[in-house]
């Protein structure tokens, strides 16, 4: 073996979760979450079906558009820092091996359809029998029971049934989903809060494990801003406001404006409406573009918090729109911030990668893919713990890359046992 080859994953004994072991049998609903646990120091073992590996390896996009089991960027991003073993849970011998892993693990994360986990030896009863201290995290569309428990759910179904999509969209064109899957993202991270809460509960209760039953629908419901209370209190359904904004079910001033080079997000017509409006009116007036809003009557009206007539509001919004249209977004944002208004640019992925703020904080991480002879830029720490730092632990594993390390090193199998298991398609 090339001695210069970095280990996959890199060791992370200084992480706050160092010493814990996690078995990851999750699909899109759990892979991001378990990756975060790996980056906090846990030993996360991805369990994949033999031969073709985890179905998530087929997710687009691919490195240089070359499809293959090791080139999915989805796989890279969601499974970095984990170890991988292959294991066929449909075979008795596979389940037996799995249970030996469960016996030495703290958390098991799975996403099978309710009712189908028992056949795979993944149900809580079985897991608890093998290891009473284990925490089983089951992540599904709607939870383990109830009238929709057996419904099929992908991201957009979670976004729709969880109430977020209704709030998102345009009055003319209807509801829209955010293209990067947010129902999946939400359930990933909320499930891990549950997993760690159960881990803490275990320690204060003499080592008891438990079942953590997570619903994607509920995870999305928790992202409805104040729409839930707005219905509860005002009996109003907020809905997709387009370039505008919902405040407690009322469509309020426009907040997205086109610039010479893109868009900016600027609440309350860029700050032209509100107690601090004078600072923004002055800015436009300095450039001779206030269109009369700097007259005392307008200033009084705009800073008084009294509602404007639809025509007045439109005039104010158009004034801001015209001002933004001829200017660069980052210049606009910098000047608005200097004047106390909380603007931000609408960034694309490229612009996020080029962000000066993130560069100043040394956010990005270079990840070496020694198998390709290249390094790539990955997102960096989502949280910076001073004593027990987050750490990116290298590229995602190849299919079954750690079979020997785990089955022989951890479970004490002999190399000939591995050969036999491989022949029988168990691993």
């Amino acid at each position: 073996m090339n001695p210069e080859r970095p280990p996959v994953p890199l060791p992370h004994p200084a992480g706050p979760l160092a010493g814990y072991r996690v078995l990851d049998l999750a699909d899109e609903k759990g892979q991001l979450g378990t990756r975060l646990l790996a980056e906090l120091g846990a030993d996360v073992i991805k369990i994949e079906p033999p031969r073709d590996g985890d179905p998530a390896r087929q997710h687009a996009p691919f490195y240089r558009n070359e499809t293959g089991a090791e080139t999915s960027l989805y796989w890279w991003v969601m499974n970095a820092g984990k170890r991988s073993v292959t294991l066929q849970l449909k075979l008795e011998a596979g389940r037996e091996l799995f249970h030996r892993l469960v016996a030495i693990s703290d958390i098991v994360v799975e996403t099978s359809m309710p009712g189908e986990s028992a056949a795979l030896g993944l149900d809580y009863e079985t897991v608890a029998r093998v290891n009473p201290a284990a925490i089983l995290v089951s992540i599904t569309g709607f939870g383990q029971d109830g009238p929709y428990a057996r419904w099929h759910a992908t991201d957009i179904v979670g976004a729709a049934m969880g109430g977020l999509m209704y709030l998102n969209g345009d009055p003319e064109r209807g509801p829209v989903r955010t293209t990067v899957p947010q129902a999946y993202t939400q359930v990933n991270v909320q499930a891990m809060v549950g997993a760690l809460t159960a881990l803490y509960a275990r320690a204060v209760n003499g080592g008891i494990g438990q079942h953590v039953d997570v619903s994607m629908q509920e995870a999305v419901a928790n992202a409805m801003d104040n729409a839930q209370q707005t219905w509860d209190i005002r009996r109003v359904n907020a809905s997709g406001p387009g370039l505008y904004r919902n405040t407690a079910g009322i469509r309020s001033a426009r907040y997205l404006f086109e610039t010479a080079d893109g868009w900016v997000a600027a609440l309350q017509a860029g700050g032209l409406i509100g107690l601090q409006a004078n600072a923004i009116i002055d800015w436009l007036a300095e450039h001779g573009e206030a269109r009369g809003l700097d007259a005392p009557e307008w200033r009084q009206k705009l800073t008084s918090l009294q509602p404007l007539s639809p025509e007045e509001r439109e005039y104010v919004e158009e004034t801001m729109a015209a001002f933004c249209r001829t200017r660069q977004k980052e210049e606009l944002v910098a000047e608005a911030q200097r004047r106390g208004a909380g603007w931000a640019p609408v960034f694309s992925p490229r612009e996020i990668v080029e962000s000066k703020q993130l560069a100043a904080r040394d956010y990005w991480v270079r990840v070496h893919h020694e198998d390709l002879g290249e390094s790539f830029t990955y997102p960096g720490a989502p949280f910076r713990l001073a004593a027990t730092p987050w750490m990116q632990r290298g590229r995602a594993p190849h299919i079954g890359e750690h079979n020997e390390e785990i089955y022989c090193g951890l479970l004490g199998l002999q190399p000939q046992d591995l050969r036999r298991l491989r022949l029988r398609m168990v691993i």
Binding site: W76, N205, N226
Partner: protein, 435 residues
């Protein structure tokens, strides 16, 4: 009440015995400490009447009448917590808060960088008072860098973090997500970091400081978009309700004006949909055979499906079997929006209704899961609160009380926890420290 048989000693709630001084406000911070409070921690919201928490001033309000203790927005994020009010600008205010922190395990805050230090609540000072304290700071952009002092809310941070770029139609502008999205994404990241730090402290006795940038966490919600750029030089963009990898994948309007989403990610889903539709000719055409072909043909698929929804859905008041005018043959079966979803689901097709807030409140699945809690609030009355998306089988969440009134627990906190005598407390009250 006492007739129940003796049971095993009750399990402790996960965070029983953990006390949190919660300076965080608006969305992100309160949602982090809500997790701790709903699972047994004693969370104390530290507020001031001299500079009230933003959400207390934003509705929805009962009868649309603003009231400092009447915001549903504030209430939902602050269940199970206690509340105190302290005037930080009073000479005695900060000192009293530091005395409270000596009795706390965790400090959470989301002010602009530097604010906590101004009142002597920075980590170094607090560590001197309580060596194993865990402190998490959660401003928009982190403690350092040229944007560290930038103001804003989740509505604009979501723009910087890429979510507007990914919301809207391919031929249209970037939209907001309709919510202050990052406010409801990054608290979960922060809670993961905080609970991991708590567990580390439990194991080692060591506390620490966590510098949390909402921006930096939110970027992890962009799925493959960053790597597609850094690896392939390809910029992904918004696709309406379409998807990079699935077709059909869209929302379709039913006769009653509601929308149903359908997602066919696999061949199984597509076969199920074909069967549910009764195998119309168009979906068995050669160019619909493979997933990648269907992605190319998705506009045509959408057109067919839109017609299907127009033709085969009905209002609940209309009859299920309808004779088409001018068409010979037996009556046609038509479906309500709920029946469409039942039909497709029975064929294994991922689908669902785009549910309104009203429908969420009536959703039988959420009711079965007891997602919504009803708590009686002294100003707002019986109101609905959200609960965690995860159910712990042995130590479940419990929303123990509605959101605190401003300063509701001053006496308890300063007398019982800080240990002020009654005279001291009354004197300080008279001096206006608890405002």
């Amino acid at each position: 009440m006492t007739s129940e048989p003796p049971t095993e000693p009750a399990l402790k709630k996960p965070f029983e015995g953990i006390r949190v001084a919660d300076f965080a406000w608006v969305g992100v911070g309160p949602l982090v400490s809500k997790y701790l409070a709903d699972h047994g921690a004693e969370v104390i919201r530290i507020e001031s009447a001299t500079y009230p928490e933003t959400l207390r001033r934003v509705g929805p309000f009962v009868n649309d009448t603003p009231h400092i203790d009447g915001s549903g927005y504030f209430a939902n994020f602050n269940s199970s917590k206690l509340g105190i009010s302290v005037n930080f600008k009073h000479p005695r205010g900060p000192e009293l808060v530091r005395r409270l922190i000596a009795h706390c395990d965790v400090v959470t805050e989301s002010y602009t960088p530097g604010t906590m230090a101004r009142f002597g609540f920075d980590y170094e000072t607090l560590r001197g008072i309580r060596p194993d304290i865990i402190m998490i700071s959660m401003p928009l952009y982190g403690q350092t860098g040229p944007w560290a002092h930038y103001a804003g809310y989740g509505h604009v941070l979501q723009a910087a973090a890429g979510f507007n770029h990914f919301t809207g139609w391919e031929d249209g502008p970037p939209l907001g997500t309709g919510v202050a999205y990052t406010d409801f994404l990054v608290p979960h990241f922060a809670a993961i970091a905080l609970i991991a730090a708590l567990d580390y402290r439990r194991r080692t006795g060591q506390g620490q400081y966590i510098d949390f940038s909402q921006f930096e966490a939110a970027i992890h919600g962009l799925w493959t978009a960053i790597l597609d750029w850094t690896v392939n030089g390809h910029e992904q963009t918004r696709l309406g309700n379409h998807d990079l990898e699935a077709a059909p994948h869209n929302a379709y309007r039913c006769r009653d004006g509601r929308w149903v989403v359908i997602a066919c990610e696999t061949e199984k889903h597509w076969e199920g949909l074909k069967a549910a539709l009764g195998r119309p000719e168009w979906c068995d055409m050669e160019r619909m055979r493979r997933r990648w072909q269907r992605i190319n043909e998705q506009k045509e698929i959408d057109r067919h499906l839109s017609f299907w929804f127009e033709d085969f859905t009905r209002l609940p008041t209309e009859s299920a079997l309808q004779v088409e005018e001018g068409v010979e043959g037996p009556p046609v079966r038509k479906y309500t929006t709920e029946e469409v979803v039942q039909l497709f689901q029975s064929f294994g097709v991922p689908c669902g209704i785009v549910q309104s807030p009203e429908e969420m409140h009536a959703d039988p699945q959420l009711a079965h899961r007891h997602h919504y809690w009803k708590l009686e609030h002294p100003v707002m009355g019986l109101r609905t609160y959200d609960s965690p998306a995860f159910k712990l089988s042995k130590t479940p969440a419990e929303l123990t009380r509605p959101a605190p009134l401003l300063g509701e627990h001053n006496e308890y906190v300063f007398r019982e926890i800080v240990g002020l005598s009654e005279d001291e407390y009354v004197d300080l009250l008279a001096e206006g420290v608890f405002e």
